[in-house]
Symmetry: C2
DNA sequence: GGGAACGTGAGCATTGTGTTCAGCCTATGG
DNA sequence: CCATAGGCTGAACACAATGCTCACGTTCCC
């Protein structure tokens, strides 16, 4: 997928406000409506843009506390059973299988520090979980900040070879 | 902010496809259009819904490799200079200040394992960074999965969703 | 009971959508 | 050197959705 500056500008506009609409975007960018439409279609078809979704902030509906938990699973168990077990815990908002000392890393949210204890316990008590180590998030600098990278890719198209 | 089942159903609909529109959502839910509109306004005003944004997937525009890096900063330096230094690296898509042995945790993406080396080096060479430890993400189970938690808050705990 | 907050259904003018089309430009390749 | 393909344009069209406002019926609680 080749991404140029127009693609970047379109995505930036829709990131500010997805409700902007194809027509308004085309006017702001000084291009034809059909162009914006076809670019969006292509970006979506390529999977670059997965879709448009409302951004939910757990901190604003009762879950201001966040922690990152490294999980070590018991030897001999695949990572699949852990995955299915942990999937049932709604407080887990992110989950990866990773290399290194630990096997799984998750990000959890909680209502309070007290509540975090409960969440961590529910993680620990999942089957196939051996040991956990958790750190509390003190400050969120940014989350899911993909736009600068995307702009970098789009801008590098002219200056650098790919 | 009090969240009821209608709020959850509205957000679920818009999460599937934010372009669904207020009118179509109201028809699917069997409520008046003005109701959906006012609910959305309130959710947005409360900050529960931050906005609607296109979901970008770095894996689909050239960055399929992902890693999580724990960073220890040099004693005596505040976390602010590290933050500003790391902010300049577009490959960092997530950044937290955390408690525990390490001080900062970031999630980075890269074009390949080779490229990951370059990204990690650029992190390590940031000012105030003392030591880093990184793990490679082998599998992404889910990212930013807030809907189940939101549904849980909305009193849909008894109900089996999806 | 009074009042506030909420949901309803309806109305209105305006605007955006999806779709299609022919024409034009530029880059690429025979 | 010309031919072809792909992208962008601007326009057209019917249709649908939007933002806004309103009067009215509930429900809940002071």
């Amino acid at each position: 997928m080749k991404i140029d500056e127009l693609d970047v500008r379109i995505v930036e506009l829709f990131s500010e406000d997805a409700g902007i609409g194809v027509l308004a975007a085309s006017r702001l960018l000084g291009v034809a409506r059909a162009t914006v439409q076809s670019r969006l279609d292509k970006l979506r078809a390529a999977g670059v843009v997965q879709g448009m979704a409302p951004t939910l902030n757990p901190a604003n509906f009762g879950y201001p506390v966040m922690a990152i938990v490294s999980i070590e699973i018991v030897q001999g168990m695949g990572h699949v059973p852990v995955g299915t077990a942990l999937r049932e815990i709604p407080e887990i908002v992110e989950m990866y299988t990773v290399s290194g000392d630990h096997d799984v890393m998750v990000r959890v949210v909680a209502r309070s520090n007290d509540d975090l204890q409960r969440v961590l316990d529910s993680v620990s008590s999942a089957s196939a979980v051996n040991r956990t180590r958790s750190v509390v998030v003190l400050q969120t600098h940014f989350q899911n900040r993909v736009l600068p990278l995307f702009a970098h890719v789009g801008g590098a198209a002219e200056r650098n070879a790919e």
